[in-house]
Amino acid sequence: MAKIRGAIVVDVEGCKGCGVCEPACPTDVIQLAKEVNGKGYHYAYMESPEACTGCSNCAVVCPDGVITVYRVKLTA
Amino acid sequence: MTEEIIIAGFGGQGVLSMGKILAYSGIMQDQEVSWMPSYGPEMRGGTANVTVIVSDERISSPTLTCYDTAIILNQQSMDKFESTVKPGGVLIYDPNGITHFPTRTDITIYTIEGAKLAADMGNTKIFNMVVLGAYLKVKPIVQLENVIKGLKKSLPERYHKLIPLNEDAITMGMKNVVTS
């Protein structure tokens, strides 16, 4: 059985903290940070990185296109 | 008497309404006033500023390049407006969020911990009233009773119950403004 893991990189300064990516993630990886970025936005980050499957859902809906997605697929 | 003021900060800080109350207060004591916001998409970035003039005479230009008083509520505004205060003028700022402090020596500089005080009072929304209080302490161009009248005029009826709270905030500001 193929095992899959993923990770996302959020461009913290580009993120506007809209939160649209959060509900888009099927595995609840993302949350908005308590801290704000330079523009005063609570940016998105991987709260549960281990759950990320690299499905790209978050990136697809991010209005500002600030999420980059990586994924590895390994056979166990 | 003519007082030319710039108030500058973030959009959410109540900059425009602070200016409006100040202007209304001027009207309450029969003065001429003008209130000129900068507007447009440049303001989308989240900054807001307004030029308020209160005068005994007819007001000429409502936009200005230098001011008697600058009330500054974030770093961006500090960068932009510190230099525009007339020599001998006044700069009041809230140090919260300020990283580069003002350096001019030919003006009088005051600080008011508006954000902190408002939070202490349990209502961050009255932040701008605290700052207004600070300003009125330094430059008592309008009397408190006229400010209250102005508040009444500018607030919709349903908010009039908040006026005492606003008055407290102003008093708090008056008490806590300090020269820096």
Partner: protein, 266 residues
């Protein structure tokens, strides 16, 4: 080879593992849109479609007047900025003298369905071989949230502060259904971009629309995107998306309306 469970995030974030990044057909400029606004998503999906079709150098886009007036700052293809409502005429002008290029318009509901009604109807009726993208957020976003032709009944806007009174202000206009009636439209669909599934569907719609043009299919390919204007609606982005699902979608039903020149039976 390390076990997948023990892989660190740093191990995953490597060029060879890249599966999604912003297309090069979007510039690096920060979008001028409010946080959570669907305009940005729609931009990117369109640009992905054009990139995947390999048409970066053969595309000319027309931006409207509306929040997306600056689309040309973000879309990394040749762009023109049209007068309010006139993008279909501008696109007609381009396409007629460059019949082999891909030409698209990108317009809001005020632009396309109010001031630009004549240009919209007639470009569709002439069957211009262009792609028209229609961002319907039920409001004039750019000018501060005034009522649009597509504003829902009872919906509050800055020019219908007590809600849209259909008796005085008219009914919301389903421009997309109207132009689907015209023989000059080839493909007409209504989509959204607020969820991954919706966004992926929309991208397929964009691709199909552009492919139609590449294939010289007769007529307009028209993609409506029902989108939020959280600022104009005075909601958080998340709330606005929910409100959109609950209120906009029942009225503006998602899905294909016309495919290959044939109306879809309902």
């Amino acid at each position: 080879m390390s076990d997948i469970h023990t892989l660190s995030v740093q191990d995953i974030i490597k060029p060879e593992n890249l599966v999604y990044e912003k297309t090069k057909l979007m510039t690096d400029k920060t979008l001028s849109y409010c946080p959570g606004c669907g305009h940005g998503t729609a931009h990117r999906l369109m640009m992905e479609a054009i990139e995947e079709l390999g048409k970066e150098n053969d595309t000319i886009g027309v931006a409207p007047v509306g929040c997306s007036v600056l689309a040309y700052e973000f879309m990394n293809v040749d762009m023109q900025e049209a007068a309010h409502g006139r993008a279909p005429a501008v696109a007609t002008g381009i396409k007629r003298v460059w019949p082999n290029k891909l030409v698209f318009t990108y317009q809001g509901d005020g632009d396309l369905a109010a001031i630009g009604t004549g240009e919209t109807i007639h470009a569709c009726n002439r069957g211009e071989q262009i792609v028209m993208v229609f961002i319907n957020n039920g409001i004039y976003g750019m000018t501060g949230g005034q009522m649009a032709p597509t504003t829902l009944p009872e919906m509050k806007t800055s020019t219908s502060p007590y809600g849209r009174d259909v008796n005085m202000m008219g009914n919301p206009l389903k421009m997309t259904e109207l132009i689907a009636q015209l023989p000059g439209t080839h493909y007409v669909t209504r989509q959204a971009v607020h969820t991954p599934a919706a966004a992926r569907k929309t991208k397929r719609a964009f691709k199909k629309a552009f492919q139609n043009q590449i294939d010289g299919k007769p007529g307009v390919s028209f993609v409506e995107v029902v989108s939020n204007c959280n600022s104009g609606w005075k909601m958080t982005p998340i709330d606005s998306n929910k409100w959109m699902e609950e209120n906009m979608f029942p009225f503006y039903e998602l899905g294909d309306i016309k495919v290959d020149g044939k109306l879809i039976e309902k």
